[in-house]
Structure formats: structure tokens, C-alpha cells
Assembly symmetry: C2
Homo-oligomer: 200 residues x 2
DNA sequence: AATAAACTGTACGTCGTAGTTCGAGTTAGC
DNA sequence: GCTAACTCGAACTACGACGTACAGTTTATT
């Protein structure tokens, strides 16, 4: 599903009726762009096109500009993130809830990584704030509840704890990319380490 | 006649023989470059020159290329890092020793930050490995000793623990730059959080 | 005060990347 | 099997950053 890709497209009236190979290429481009931008937010259009198995000109046939492509990638990432996080139950025992939230967030962080950085040069500030605030407030609320019932330490700033969680998630992603740990053991390590760091 | 007795030699001559204002400017350039590159490893030569209060051409009068400047900055950072870390006593109670090591490393991380990333595009791979290995092995040895006497948990890979420490240090630096915490409280937060994350 | 070293801005050539145009070749779909 | 949609590479413009050359001015040093 998801056959959109032209929500804000300011091109000529050519909305629907795209050919199958075109749609396939568009998907391949967005896919490759997501993969490359997650590692290097400055990946060139040429690199993205080659990774997608198409020519540079073909890419420009589907996206008005590099910025437009990044915007599309970022918006998909945002949408997918919201979607995944909405399914996570943050009620019940704070420690277990945080574990569930971390496991899901880990996957998203590892998949999207530096896409946020790339997006910060292409997205409107308001959209950008939503990207950061949505997951942050979710964790923030859970953290606050856990601190109230003394499951998490409350003698350090809560914003610092959020930063620590983000740092560990990001660090784990880098460690996997460098081959220091495997993608399979990462979720457990992240969960255990964060819980330990927040323990009272 | 023979007005250029040492025109070619003066180019290569380093250190002595330079005028006082030249030496002052060289310091200012290295200083500004360190400050900018620590935040943005892609800072342009123009930005660095302006931040140093000199013209772009003046900068090129002292450094053959952008790469040469980065190499100088990186080597200073390496030297300073080795120097500082050499004074840290890593004996005695592992937890306290780690605290001392973290406090020193924090200052270095916050000061140099992304200089390593900039250097990775300009330094020889061998030099680059030294930069990473020297602090890492120091922490590694301390970690191993602490695990042996059960002061640090030993049920997770030790390389992961090193990654966590680096992630928290880097995250703290970012948090200070974003204004979420102050530079004054950072060392304590880093120390407490890392100790908690490693506690058995 | 004289001189050489150092600084400045402007302007030029080069290179890599973004974005466009064109003509010709493929391919999906009716 | 026809046609429009799609793809491709090569060549072009535009732009910013690096690096260099020049000519004029300031400043440290003797």
C-alpha cells in the first residue's frame, strides 16, 4: 500500500497512473536514501541513485530536488516512528514499560540514525520539533512516573536522563555498525544498561 | 643583488625566526580551528579564518592546505590528550579511579569533540588508531581490573561498556552545547551515571 | 626611520556537487 | 505490435569551497 509519494509535489498534473517500474524505482530510491542517509547525512545524490540501481537523471525525474527526496525520506521515518511507538504500552511497571519502549526505539534509531540530521537541513522547524518531541515526551512521562514511585533515581535532572538514553541508543547503533556488537544482542544490552543507569 | 638568499628555506622553516604577530596569529588560527572543528568537522577554511580574526589568505600563508591545518590541530589534540591522561592515577579503588579518569576524559571530549572526525579524513590510519587506542586501552585495563574484583558488572561485553562510556561522554558534550545542562554539573553527572551503568 | 616580514582584499582557476536539457534506447501496458 | 511512459548517459549551467597570484597597506624589528 502507500502509493502516495506526491502529497506536496508541485509538479504538473501527473499524479496517478504511474507505471509499475517507475513505482518500483521510487521505492528503491527512498529505500537506498534511507539506508545511506542513516549513516551519512551528507550522502550525495549520485551515491543514492547508484545504490538504488538507477541513474541520477531518473532520480530527478521522480524528485524535484535533493531536498525533496530528503523530505520524503524524513516524513516516512516520522510516520513509521509514530506508528510503531503508538503500539507500545507504557502503562504498568515503569521498568518493564521502559524496556518495551527502549526495544522499539532501538530499532527505529538503528534504522533511521542520521536521517534526522539530514532532515534538519530540509524540514520546516515545526516538523522537526515534532520529530524530536513526540518520542521525547513519551519517554519523559514514563520517566517522571517511574521517579515518583522510586523505581528510577530522582537525584539528577530528568532531561539528563533523556539525553543519556538517546546517547546509549545512538552509541549502540554505532557499535553495531563498527561490528563491536551484533544487532541481535543490542536490544538486551541497551535495555539492561539504561535500566542500570537509571536505577535509584 | 641576491635579495632572496633564503626565500625557499623560510617556507619550510618552522617555529623560530617568525615574527611575533605571525606566531600570535598561528595560535589564534589553531585555537579557532579547534573550537569550530570540535562542533562541525566540515567547518570551512573561511569560517575558521574569520573566527581567528584573520583573512583567508593569511591562513594559507601559515598552512599549506586545509588538510595541513587539520593535521596540526589533531596532533595537538592527541598530544594534549596523552599528556593529561598520563597524570591520572588509575590505581587504587576501581570506582574512584574510574571517576578520576572520567573527569579528565570528559574535559578532553568536550574540548575536542568532532576533531577526531575531521582528523579521520586527514590523518594517516596509523595515527588515527593511536588516537583511539590510547584512551581506550587505558579504560579497558581499568574496567577489566574492576570486573575481576566485582566492582563492575561482568555479564556484558567489556567493549560494550567502553562504547557506553564514550556514548555518555559524547552525549554530555552535546547536552552542554544544547544548553540542557551546564558545563559545571556535567562531570558529576557523567561520573554518577557511568558508575551506575557499570555497577554489578 | 628604514626595511623586511606580515597582513589585507580582490580576483582567478579548479574541482565536486546540484540541477537541467537533449536525444536515443527500453519497456510496460493496451 | 504500437505508443506513451520510462530510463539512460553525456553534456551543460550554477554555485560554493579550496588553493593561488597580485598589489597595496600595516607593523614588528633593528
Amino acid at each position: 500500500m502507500a502509493v502516495e509519494t506526491n502529497s506536496a509535489a508541485s509538479r504538473v498534473a501527473r499524479g496517478r497512473g504511474k507505471r509499475a517500474d517507475a513505482l518500483r524505482n521510487i521505492e528503491a530510491i527512498i529505500d537506498a536514501a534511507t539506508r545511506l542517509l542513516a549513516v551519512d547525512p551528507d550522502a550525495s545524490v549520485n551515491e543514492i541513485a547508484k545504490a538504488a540501481g538507477v541513474g541520477r537523471v531518473t532520480l530527478y525525474g521522480h524528485f524535484d530536488s535533493r531536498t525533496a527526496l530528503i523530505r520524503e525520506v524524513a516524513q516516512r521515518a516520522i510516520h513509521n516512528t509514530s506508528e510503531v511507538l503508538a503500539t507500545i504500552d507504557v502503562e504498568g511497571d515503569p521498568r518493564e514499560a521502559l524496556g518495551r519502549l527502549l526495544e522499539a526505539t532501538w530499532r527505529l534509531t538503528h534504522r533511521y540514525g542520521a536521517v534526522v540530521i539530514a532532515g534538519s537541513q530540509a524540514l520546516a522547524p515545526e516538523d522537526l520539533r515534532r520529530v524530536h518531541d513526540e518520542p521525547a515526551t513519551r519517554i519523559l512521562a514514563l520517566l517522571a512516573r517511574g521517579r515518583d514511585v522510586d523505581e528510577f533515581r530522582a537525584d539528577v535532572p530528568i532531561e539528563w536522563q533523556v539525553s543519556v538514553i538517546q546517547a546509549i541508543l545512538h552509541g549502540a547503533s554505532g557499535a553495531v555498525h563498527r561490528g563491536e556488537i551484533t544487532g541481535a544482542e543490542a536490544p538486551t544490552l541497551v535495555r539492561d544498561t539504561v535500566i542500570a543507569a537509571l536505577a535509584p
